[in-house]
Symmetry: C2
Subunit: 294 residues, 2 copies
């Protein structure tokens, strides 16, 4: 059995490996749209340090398939601020945290190619110590995995939605038949734009506080990454050669406005990151390059 | 002395009158830019009803000086939701509220013409009753005025900033020499984009919970409206005939992104309105028509 330090190392190494593979696959798609007069895009990587400890690497590509796609990995540690300790179970006794993860947001040029979001992470609190009094009997975890992936097509395509969900369902079913229905519902609830009463997209899965044993949860998190890696590129390939109208472009920009509304008003990661002094460039990498409101 | 009902009536009638005068002045500016091949813009008015009581009128113009300018008036009443009662002093004993106000946000076409925001309102809580136990000795107001105006130039111009501030300072000074320095500081603190450590614009004034006697506060709120009405159009006129570059347009779109970040992450009115089931179209009328993020 791995020590906590070995677990942390294995998780952050996986997020880095997944980042490399995702970037390679997305650059391949850029090469494949050879009919475009624009050059194929390539990722530019920018490392960043976090003041309180750790840091990450942003990879951003602005190309001919992807108007903007960002893949961020980070491994950070430190102590929760006074203000946040009250909101994190157990943090008032021991405010230490460690977190490592990957986050991808793709905004394609074409309104016909679906935007997508994927994010997985491992979180350790209280220095990874076993529950201590007064939490000895409580379900407060010492470390867990969380994440998910969701599709945000401007013009939903039933076949795309089905194949995206099927890939995630297969990854889930290999671990627990209860995962997919539970994580799909969680995703639908989380990505609801409440003030509009509109879903952000076509859903996918969302999970958090997963703690069924580190080996098992890590394997599941890797399976989610693999499912995403195999499920998304075919959806891009299927639509990226089609031309689009000005009206479709306009509708795309308006839908992106909804995406911005969700991210700034509701997204926990965005708000948490900005309110705790995270790197705004890395956190807001998820925002679309061009947006409109009516 | 006016009864509370007469006060409410007088305030909401003023906000309507100010709306009419603002729309007329802004339409005049549209006429004045006669060198544009585009037609002069005109406001389109849309009434809306609020489910819990009251409603308002949105006026939106998309023209050749103003890419989008919205002027909203509303007079609403009802009860604070269970969730919000805890945050409003005195609302747990009596959750009733009444509020009337005007809000203007202008996003000019030209990056050289400064965007602007102005908003004033009268608020009544607890049915306007005098403080009651356990609040009999507390400073919880039964009604108050709030508002302000701030300039958000893409390319700040010292003369513009000075004349805008001077007009507001004059309005303040006629009432209390302490108002302008206090309300200017409040504005600077409120319109800080915290995660960027950047001010939203060149400031102005911001005031709230003003309760120095209804007649006096209402007169001050009218003076703020008049100051805005006389101060902003000359700034538009001074710059609206100049041409601009693609680079300036790009910078304008990026600055608008900061504006969106502020409004969705921090603006109390926006968050409060959306979280309490307000009309999203009216609340988000403040968002710019086209925006970009790097």
């Amino acid at each position: 059995m791995k020590t906590l330090e070995q677990q942390k190392h294995a998780a952050s190494a996986w997020f880095r490996e997944l980042r490399d593979r995702l970037c390679a696959v997305l650059e391949n798609l850029e090469d494949e749209r050879s009919e475009s007069p624009l050059p194929a895009g390539r990722f530019r990587r920018t490392p960043w340090r976090r003041e309180g400890g750790g840091g990450g690497e942003m990879s951003v590509m602005k190309g001919r398939v992807f108007e903007k796609v960002g893949v961020n990995i980070s491994t950070v540690h430190g102590e929760f601020s006074e203000q946040f300790r009250k909101e994190i179970p157990g943090a008032e006794t021991d405010p230490r945290f460690w977190a490592s993860g990957i986050s991808l947001v793709a905004h394609p040029c074409s309104p016909l190619v679906p935007p997508v979001h994927m994010n997985t992470r491992m979180v350790v609190v209280r220095g990874g110590s076993e529950p201590v009094a007064p939490f000895a009997d409580s379900p407060i975890p010492r470390s867990w995995f969380g994440g998910g992936a969701d599709l945000n097509a401007i013009y939903p395509d039933a076949a795309d939605t089905e194949s995206f969900h099927n890939a995630l369902k297969e990854a889930c079913d290999a671990f627990d038949a209860a995962y997919y229905p539970k994580f799909k519902t969680w995703c639908d609830e989380y990505f609801l734009i409440k003030h509009r009463g509109e879903p952000r997209g076509q859903g996918g899965i969302f999970y958090d506080y997963l703690q069924n044993g580190w080996e098992r949860d890590f394997a599941f998190t890797r399976a989610v990454g693999e499912a995403f890696l195999s499920a998304y590129p075919p959806l891009v390939r299927r639509h990226m050669h089609a031309s689009w109208s000005e009206e479709q472009r306009r509708f795309q920009l308006l839908k992106r406005g909804r995406y911005v509304e969700f991210n700034l008003l509701y997204d926990r990661g965005t708000r948490f990151g900005l309110m705790t002094g995270g790197n705004p460039e890395a956190i807001l990498m998820s925002l679309p390059p061009e947006v409109a409101w009516d």
